[in-house]
Structures are given as C-alpha cells and as structure tokens.
C-alpha cells in the first residue's frame, strides 16, 4: 500500500473475500478435505474509510456486514484479499490492530450479567491493559459520558436495553480507540432511546471526540440520519459506496417534483393526462383534511426545468400553492441498488 493511501485512509480493503466452509456432520469434516463446499459471505469487497468519518455499512440481514466487521476486528481471517487499518494488515498485525479499535456489539449477552456495570468495565479495562491508576478515572468519566453514573453499581441484568447499549459503547471507548466498530447497536432499543443513542454517536463520538465510526445497520432511516458516507452491501458484495447524495444522484437520474395545488381540484384531475411536458404525473393520496392536493411529477429525461410543467398546469386551471424537488428516500435507493444487476 502506498504511503499516500496509508495517510489518507483509516481503513482500506482490497478485494476482500470470505468464504465459509459448509460442513455437515462429522462425515463432512472428512469429506471436506477432498471436496470443499463453500458459501461466499464477502466477495471482492473494496472500500476506503477516512479518518474521523461516520461510515455506514448498510445491508439486509445476512448481507455480510458482520463478517466484514469481524475481519477488521481480527476475529475472522479473510479467504483472500487484504485489509489495512492505519496501514496495519489485519491478518498480520492483529495485536496492534486490537489496540486501535473499540468494538460495540449489539449483542447484550457480551457482558457478565451478575456483575455491575462498573465491575464489567473494570474487568474489561484490565484485559485492555488500561493502567490501574488511569482505569478508575476513565471508567467514571465514561459512565458519566454515557449518563450511567447513577446506575453503575446495579447488576447488568437489571439494566434496560438502552442502558446495556450505552455500557457497550462505554466498553468500546475504554482504550480511547481511534476506530470504533458498531454492529447493529440499536437492535432491540425503543425508538426514543435509539434516537438519543444516534445523537450521542454523532454529537459526542464523531463531532466532539473525532473518532472514526463504522456503523453497520439494516435500518435505512438510521443510516440516513447518521452517516456521511455509506456502502450498501448485498449478498456479500458492495453494490455501491459513497456520499448518500451522490449515490442518490447516481441511481435516480430522473428528477421528481411535488406540486401543491389549492382547493378542490375535481375538474382539474381529468386534465392531468393532457400535461404533455411531464414524463409522469401521480396524485399523492392524502388522508388529511387540508384543502390542498399534492401531485408528483417526473420531468422528462434531458429536461432540467420544472417551469414548463408549472406553466402547463396553470394553463389547465390548476392553482399552484408551492412546489419542491422530491428527494428519493434511502429505502427507495436501497431497493434500486440491490435490484440492479
């Protein structure tokens, strides 16, 4: 890897592939020696993540997000390809890499349930070589950072899901790591706690602490709210990666607008098929009691201007209150990306 790449990117993978052996029963252990049956969990994954970035790994369950994170966290060895973190090879520099990372896993079973939150953190601090004189102060500061200071001496088993996830983040930050991996950390959290949790990641970890966060999720809303850049993974392949806006533009070239029309438009609706300057016009169903009607128009390929359509609607008797460009949701984008061959 070049020095420039080493400096520019915090994480870089090149054609990373992971195939898991398919072994059934004890007989399979023997036959596998001669006839290997494998299933690909990751295929030629190449991504680059910058320092201080909040990067989303987006994919449905079983897409390969966890496998990618586990390779980067040195828990799984890749079948082929390479991955570097701060210029360190994940297959060769495992010890050094574990000093760089914090791993926040959504699985609440990764704690000792009959130990208190503070005792759990103390135990993991020791295993992470946090010096004894620093450990207590750091644990106190993390408990307070995660707003757990008043529950620190309760057994973990008595924590709510949100508190368990907060403790998982506190554990991930014990070593003050440069890079934090979060694998579906909001799983099982109620919407309010999840919202608070996301705010905490964005405001405190990324903006204040300048950490690099890799956030794996299948929740599109979450990815859209949190991440600067994303990679959409489907069946082990990175389908696309980049800024959310750029990906939207790449996959959704046709521009759409929402136009709001005033008052009862019964007479106008019959005239819609005669709007020739638009590629497609759709009435947006409205269950509210407002006195406006919304229609969605798609402009024709090559056109960039909404005004001919606006003029045509006005000429046909439509009273326009407002119009704005319709933005494609990440959910729609996700369907488009994974649907593209």
């Amino acid at each position: 890897m070049s020095e420039i790449t080493k400096l520019s990117y915090c994480i870089e993978t090149q054609d990373l592939t992971k195939k898991y052996p398919v072994i059934k029963g004890y007989g399979g252990l023997f036959t596998h020696l001669f006839r290997k049956k494998e299933i690909a969990a990751l295929q030629n994954v190449s991504i680059r993540i910058k320092r201080g970035e909040l990067f989303g790994l987006l994919g449905s369950n079983g897409a390969g997000k966890t496998t990618l994170i586990k390779i980067l966290c040195t828990l799984v060895l890749p079948t082929s390809g390479t991955a570097w973190m701060n210029g360190l090879d994940v297959t060769k520099d495992q010890k050094k890499i574990r000093k760089l990372i914090g791993y926040v896993v959504g699985d609440e079973r990764s704690f000792y349930w009959r130990l208190t939150g503070r005792q759990n953190l103390t135990f993991f601090a020791k295993l992470n070589n946090v010096p004894r004189h620093d450990a207590q102060a750091r644990i106190e500061s993390l408990l307070s950072f995660m707003e757990l200071q008043y529950d620190a001496d309760r057994m973990f088993k008595d924590y709510s899901t949100g508190m368990k996830q907060k403790l998982a983040i506190a554990r991930g930050l014990l070593t003050e790591p440069e890079i934090i991996f979060m694998d579906e950390p909001t799983n099982g959290m109620d919407p309010v706690s999840a919202q608070k949790f996301r705010k905490l990641i964005k405001e405190k970890l990324v903006k204040t602490e300048k950490k690099t966060v890799i956030f794996a999720t299948h929740n599109l809303h979450e990815a859209e709210e949190l991440c600067d850049r994303i990679a959409i993974i489907h069946k082990g392949e990175v389908k696309t990666a980049g800024l959310i806006g750029e990906i939207k533009r790449e996959f959704h070239s046709g521009k759409g607008y929402v136009i709001e029309l005033k008052g009862p438009v019964t007479g106008f609706l019959e005239k819609i098929p005669y709007i020739t300057s638009a590629r497609k016009v759709t009435i947006i169903p409205d269950n509210s009691f407002s006195d406006t009607t919304q229609i969605e128009v798609e402009i024709k390929d090559g056109d960039n201007d909404i005004f001919p359509i606006v003029k045509e609607i006005a000429d046909l008797g439509g009273k326009i209150c407002s119009f704005y460009e319709k933005e494609i949701s990440l959910g729609e984008l996700f369907s488009m990306v994974i649907g593209r061959k």
């Binding site: 898991y20 040195t74 828990l75 699985d107 295993l127 004894r132």
Partner: protein, 271 residues
Amino acid sequence: MALFIEKPLAFVWKDLINEVSYKFAFFMQVCGILVTTVTFFYLSKLLGEVGTSYLKPYGGDYFSFVLIGVAFFNYLKVSMDSLSASIREGQMVGTLEALLVTQTEIPTIILSSSLYSFIFASFKVAVYLILGAFFFGVDMGNANIMGAFLILLLTIVSFSSIGIISASFVMVLKKGNPVNWLFTNVSGILGGLYYPVSVLPKWLQKLSAMLPVTYSLEGMRLALLKGSSLNALLPNIAALTAFSAVMLPLSVLIFGYAVRRAKIDGTLTQY
C-alpha cells in the same frame, strides 16, 4: 502489579463475584463434599479388612485411600472440564467475542478463565483433607508436604495439557468433545480412583501405566499417607514430568491450530 498476574487475577475476581452472587450454590457444594466423605467413611467400615493386602502400600486403610483419590481426582476433572467449559460457556453466553477483541492473547484468556475452578478445586481438596484428618481419623501426621506439592504441581501441568487438547476440540467441534469423555472415564476406571491399580488384571494395569492420573494419585497417597521421601516418589515424579514435557508443547500446538481453524471457518464464537 505485573500485568501477567493482573489479568488472571481479574478473571478470578470476576468469577468470584459471579459465584458469590449464587449464594446457595456454594453451600450445596460444601454439603456435597460432606455427603461424599460420610458415604465413603461408612463404605470403608463395611469393607473392614477386605482388600488390606492391596491397600498395604498406602497404609492399609480404605477410607484414607479413597478420600485422597476422590479429593485429588477433582484436579483431573477441573483440568479436563474447565478449559473447554470456559470456551463453551463464552460461546454460549456470548462473552467470548468481547474477550477476543481485547488486548489479551487467547491462551491467557482461556487459562485465566479456568483459574477460579482450580482455586475452588484446591478449596474442595482442603475441605476433604481437613474433614478426613480432624473428623474421620485419617492419619497424615507423617505427610511429605514438599513431595505432595511437587506431585500436585506436575499433576496440574500434565492434566492441563490434556485439558488444552480438549479445549481445542471444543473450539472447532463445539460439542461432542471425545478427549474429555475418554480421558475422564478411562482415568476413573483405570487410574486408581476408588481401588488400587493392583486389583486390575495385568493387561489393564499396562493401560493404567499410560495414564498420568495413575502416577498422580499414587504419588499423592504415598506422600500424604506414608510420608514417602522424594526419592521414593521419583518414579511418579519422573512419569508426570515426562508426560508434561511431551503433552504440554503438543497441546499448545494443537490449540494454536484450532484457533486458526476456527478463525478461518469463522466459528470462533459460534456454538
């Protein structure tokens, strides 16, 4: 405190808090020791003078013989079970993954995870010996403490090497660990736990001579009940040393291979 001892102690501290939180379990374990001791005490009364010739090398008393056997067989069970059980429990409960991403090497994690079990086994052995000596008349007045300690040390090392191999199977196969089953059962039958090896037919005695538990229990009985000197214990010490010298490096190699295999298969934390 040096880091190499701080981490194992952290595991002991964590396991102790966990165990103490189950208050009744500890009490039941001590009751279990008492029940076993009383059972064998009256069983030995029933046997009386039967088999004295076989027991003569160990002082002639069946209760003393079996008490040492049952007490120190705990170490074999802990060595065989605790290493693999700590991996299995971590896989099942879900803590193994969190441990493996820390800055602690896998061998330290596995060995430290079983340390509490060894300490508790030592506590159980102490309870057996105290009960035997103070309440059931087991005579250990001439015990060679130094010799017993040496035998104990070699016992733990040699048993642990089998435990590490057993843990390697769990790492890869998760369940159905053949090493554990085979060694614990064969050692129980042939190792001289409940009866002296000399009662077995010659061909079984030859098999028995291949097991470290045979030398461990015999050495321990000779040291504690007869007060045998280090010279007299030399055959047992030599056998256990040889076994450890071969099996310990081998077990470390096998364990290293198992970890790599599990990382390749992606099954390190699966169960």
